[in-house]
């Protein structure tokens, strides 16, 4: 049948219109959507004035000039070496940016000696895309290429890093005959002119040019003499560059140089060190990708005693000169970036969740917090003996994303093409150094200082809760399970625990005298645990629907408990329908979207482990804003008040989308703004993971580090994280019934030492029902099995910790013989004996593998 032309026209028009509408929809909703930009921070750059040393009433440090002063601190600097030193007026202790006795170091030589003299080291890709490093000492300070500016409360050094000289000095290796005559020879007397002329010969490759003879190039003395004569003739570096350009046919290879400002400011009892990365200037082909800052600030010498605090999981100490010089500590803050994370995991690690580190010496301590660029930082710590005689800890910041992308059809090293982002991340790298007095010079002092600072900033508020500690109960609700009908498989939702069954479990615990139950309901909406993208809320009907959830909420809130609804915003399962994974996911440089799964403990590879729902994309921070807005809209109509965030406080991902790169620091700003919104719309937030920036919004933190990574270099495991937040935020770590080893006494001692509440993940039905699902990690959750144990553990822990609920930890001490002493600010003292023999501390006897409570 032939169509009439009119019909054909209408169909064509409709198709074109449809396509245009779809394109417009995509543009508005995805490509041009940038609401996230409102969450980003802006940075200011203070203009400096000419530097003049301040009047110093009492010169505290010889050979240095006073740069800034306040009631507590004096900032000194040496304008020749650009090192700084901070003098603490309270104690008279001086903290140096570079060790003052570094010249006597017997171990460091060559580059390591330069490192000792440097304030920072930049890592960059050079012209051939090879990684290289530059220290600011030999490429800037020694060459006198730096300026000093005065700021309101401090100073700024502007370093100009780069090699401006050539191997021949200012003597051009190739020069035009006329230029040589005109610029040099005519201005010198005849004898000198002749001697210069004799060192040049006609160039074979460049007609009309003269070339230095090979004899003179290798003769140092001869070159020196020539340099002097060229200078005498008034020949300058600019002329040299001009001649080089002439010789190269007009094209001049610009030299690789970096201009980097480094600011020091005094503010109260702290020193703020800033690198305004937006002001970094690169010339030539060098591309900075990282910078390590003040590597030796407050470093401990080979004959000093003390330790380094590193934020390894819950926290660790590295004793000075512990001899473990073959390894260094190096850990990403908040874990590696999701877009940079390797798909093979070599070891199971606990993330560093705090952007802090510290150095404790005999009479003083420096505590350091990274307040800008924390998400881009790794903390690196070394002990003496390997490269130099100092024990140091410092941050390394990633300033520009880079990745090696493998190319198809190429083998070997050349298959990896280094890919670099065009621009340096524009942000302020900022470190605050706090100087602690002798009485606070310990990790307890650092924790106290940090907590007090956070309380002053309004981030933490102490003493909210007292009485019984909470009992954390994760209830496993709906689970995605493959069902089949006549052999046709489909994804169903299996009811592990319905809402009324959850009530039953809660009532069982209440019968056992546990009332402060905080239930985190896993898998309650949009299709179970691996739920559809959280843009809307459909409470799962198999579990009992809206009414059931409401009743459970009533039961808990009337009996002193809380019901949290668990939601994952960032990791979005492959089973999700309501998610445009091609457009909304974070991407790699190569354009592929980020996909993660679970790590197989046997093969160490990340995969879905055979279950599609385990695989997940990671949402780009760009679209996180919209997801959460939509979620909150829907959440208003749901009758629960509290949310548990499965991943918002746990992972931060950048988005390497080629045309719209969002770095990790920006991602953090976006996440913090979302947390603020969520906090305003919920009564309480439970945050899983608990990176430090979530503290202001969390009333409970689950899954906080319950130990450190036992790296070779670290010596002691300490609950630093817990010491900071105890009494301000309730917390718990991993579910006890799913922990790898089950030794009841060990678990108990850990809970008591760390001040953590117990947590269990339970379900109404037996875990064997979900053996063949992506949630088979929950292998032992049947509530009947655990009810009695859970109640016993809770009561035993509560018996001790209820005395310290709402109090802060004012001291934690490692005593001899495996005994740990934890002092709370209300006077309670808990002793933990981890050894297998009873110990006596004063009048207190602590049984083997036991604990004692004092001061109740």
């Amino acid at each position: 049948m032939r169509k009439k032309p009119g019909v054909r026209l209408i169909i064509t028009l409709a198709a074109v219109f449809g396509l245009a509408a779809y394109a417009a929809y995509l543009c508005i909703n995805y490509y041009f959507y940038n609401e996230y930009a409102e969450c980003l921070a802006e940075y200011a750059y203070e203009s400096g004035s000419a530097f003049t040393p301040l009047e110093d009433s009492e010169k505290s440090i010889p050979k240095m000039v006073l740069a800034a002063e306040n009631d507590i601190l004096k900032l000194y600097t040496n304008t020749k070496t650009t090192e700084i030193a901070v003098y603490d007026k309270r104690s008279g202790v001086i903290t140096w940016s570079n060790p003052p006795d570094r010249d006597k170091d017997a171990i460091a030589s060559g580059r390591n000696r330069i490192a000792l003299n440097s304030q920072f080291m930049v890592s960059y890709y050079d012209k051939t895309m090879t990684e290289a490093t530059m220290y600011n000492y030999d490429f800037s300070v020694e060459r006198g290429q730096y300026e000093i500016e005065k700021l309101e409360n401090g100073i700024r050094y502007i370093y100009f890093l780069g090699d401006l000289t050539s191997p021949t000095g200012i003597v051009p290796p190739i020069i035009q005959i006329e230029r040589l005559e005109q610029m040099v020879l005519s201005k010198l007397d005849e004898k000198d002119a002749r001697s210069i002329r004799s060192n040049y010969m006609e160039s074979k490759d460049h007609p009309g040019f003269l070339e230095l003879t090979s004899g003179i190039i290798v003769s140092k003395v001869g070159l020196q003499k020539m340099n002097k004569l060229f200078e005498q003739a008034g020949y300058t570096t600019e002329d040299f560059d001009y001649d080089a350009a002439l010789a190269a046919g007009g094209e001049v290879q610009e030299r690789t140089t970096f201009t980097i400002p480094l600011e020091y400011r005094l503010a109260g009892d702290r020193l703020e060190v800033t690198i305004p990365a937006a002001e970094i200037i690169e010339t030539g082909s060098g591309k900075i990708f990282g910078i390590s800052l003040l590597s030796f600030f407050g470093a401990g010498g080979i004959d000093e005693e003390g330790y380094i605090l590193v934020p390894n999981g819950s926290g660790s100490l590295i004793y000075f000169n512990n001899g473990k010089k073959t390894e260094r500590y190096n850990q990403y803050i908040y874990g590696p970036d999701e877009t940079a994370r390797s798909l093979t995991v070599v070891e199971e690690t606990v993330k560093a969740r705090l952007p802090v580190f510290g150095i404790k010496k005999e009479n003083s301590a420096v505590f350091c917090e990274i307040t800008g660029g924390d998400t881009l930082a790794n903390i690196i710590a070394n002990v003496s003996g390997n490269l130099n005689s100092y024990n140091n800890v410092y941050p390394y910041f990633t300033l520009r994303g880079s990745e090696k992308v493998s190319m198809f059809g190429v083998e070997g090293i050349s298959a990896d093409v280094p890919t670099l982002e065009k621009n340096i991340y524009e942000l302020d790298l900022k470190i605050n150094y706090y100087f602690l007095e002798q009485k606070d010079a310990s990790y307890s002092g650092m924790a106290n200082y940090y907590r007090n600072k956070l309380i002053d900033d309004g981030i933490l508020s102490p003493g909210k809760d007292s009485g019984s500690i909470p009992f954390y109960l994760d209830v496993l609700g709906g689970v995605k399970r493959r069902e089949s009908f006549l052999g046709v498989p489909y994804m169903g939702i299996y009811q592990m625990t319905g809402f009324d069954e959850a009530q039953l479990i809660v009532k069982e615990f209440q019968k056992n005298n546990i009332n402060n139950i905080r239930v985190n309901y896993l898998g309650w909406f949009n299709g179970g645990y691996y739920h559809d993208a959280a843009k809307n809320i459909k409470i799962d009907r198999v579990l009992g629907g809206r009414k059931g959830l409401e009743k459970l909420n009533e039961l808990l809130s009337e009996s002193g408990g809380r019901l949290y609804g668990d939601v994952a915003f960032q990791s979005i399962s492959f089973e999700s329908d309501n998610f445009n994974w091609r457009l909304e996911s974070a991407r790699y440089y190569s354009g592929f979207v980020v996909v993660h799964g679970r790590t197989n403990p046997a093969t160490l590879r990340t995969s879905g482990m055979g279950y599609y729902e385990v695989l997940h994309d990671v949402i780009s921070p760009k679209f996180l804003v919209r997801h959460i807005d939509k979620f909150l809209n829907a959440f208003e109509k749901v009758n629960i008040d509290n949310l548990s965030l499965r991943d918002l406080g746990d992972i931060i991902t950048s988005d390497k989308h080629r045309t719209n790169i969002i770095n990790r620091q920006e991602a953090k700003q976006v996440i913090m703004r979302q947390l603020e919104k969520l906090d305003a719309n919920c009564e309480h937030l439970m945050i899983n993971g608990g990176n430090a920036y979530t503290w202001a919004y969390a009333s409970d933190i689950a899954g906080i580090p319950d130990g450190h990574n036992p790296y070779h270099i670290v010596d002691e495991e300490i609950p630093f994280y817990q010491m900071v937040i105890h009494g301000c935020i309730n917390y718990t770590s991993k579910p006890i019934n799913l922990s790898g080893t089950y030794d009841r006494q060990d678990i108990l001692l850990k809970l008591l030492e760390y001040g953590a509440a117990p947590r269990f993940t339970l379900s109404y039905r037996d875990s064997s029902e979900i053996k063949y699902t992506g949630l088979n990690i929950f292998y032992s959750t049947h509530y009947e099995t655990w009810l009695q144990d859970a109640a016993d553990i809770y009561h035993e822990v509560n018996e001790v910790l209820k005395h310290v609920a709402g109090s802060t930890i004012s001291g934690h001490f490692l005593l001899d013989g495996g005994v740990r002493k934890i002092v709370y600010d209300n006077g309670c003292v808990i002793y933990i004996n981890k050894s297998s023999t009873p110990r006596n501390i004063g009048s207190v006897t602590i049984p083997a593998k036991g604990y004692a409570l004092e001061g109740v």
Binding site: M407, F408, V417, T419, S484, L486, G487, V488, S590, R658
Partner: protein
Amino acid sequence: MLNKEKLLYPFYVISHPFDGFYEIRHRNKGSVTVALMIVFLFGLSFSITRRYAGFVVNRINPRTVNSIAEIFSVMLAVLLFSAANWSITCLMEGEGRFRDIITVAGYSMLPMALTFIPTTILSWFIAADEENLYYLINGVSIILFVFLLLVGIMTVHGFSFGKTLITLFLTFVSVILIIFVVLLLFYLVNQVYLFLESLYTELIMRV
């Protein structure tokens, strides 16, 4: 078009194979639609057996059964067999048309399609020592299938028994050839795609 006669004809064929297949070739008694329906039914019953047969006779993990994929593979296998057989018999002066071959393959499956579901139900009631009954019934239907297929191919092409065996062997060889060529094609297309993709990646990375 489908009518009662065509729908019931397969039952006539399995009871009178020589006459039945002859009339398919020469009197258009067969129907491709009916044949495909039988193939579909066979695929379904095959899947149901794997999924639901009692544990005494079933060693398959029921979670791994995906009946849609299985029905689809059975269909594909029939198509592949028919195409291969057709291409061989064309060269060997077979009289059968493509539709005849499909019809033969489909109609021969009727005994299996009929017995698999009853034996599955039977398997729920038999004890460990009685599984021979189950295997006997299934075995008979499978042997009948092979017999029908042989007779069918022989009849529609007008071959002797020996020639049929030879063509079936050659059919088997050409099935393997077809699979090989198809896989090769997929591989090459994939290579071209990968090349273009890496070209794009390299362009956006380096430029």
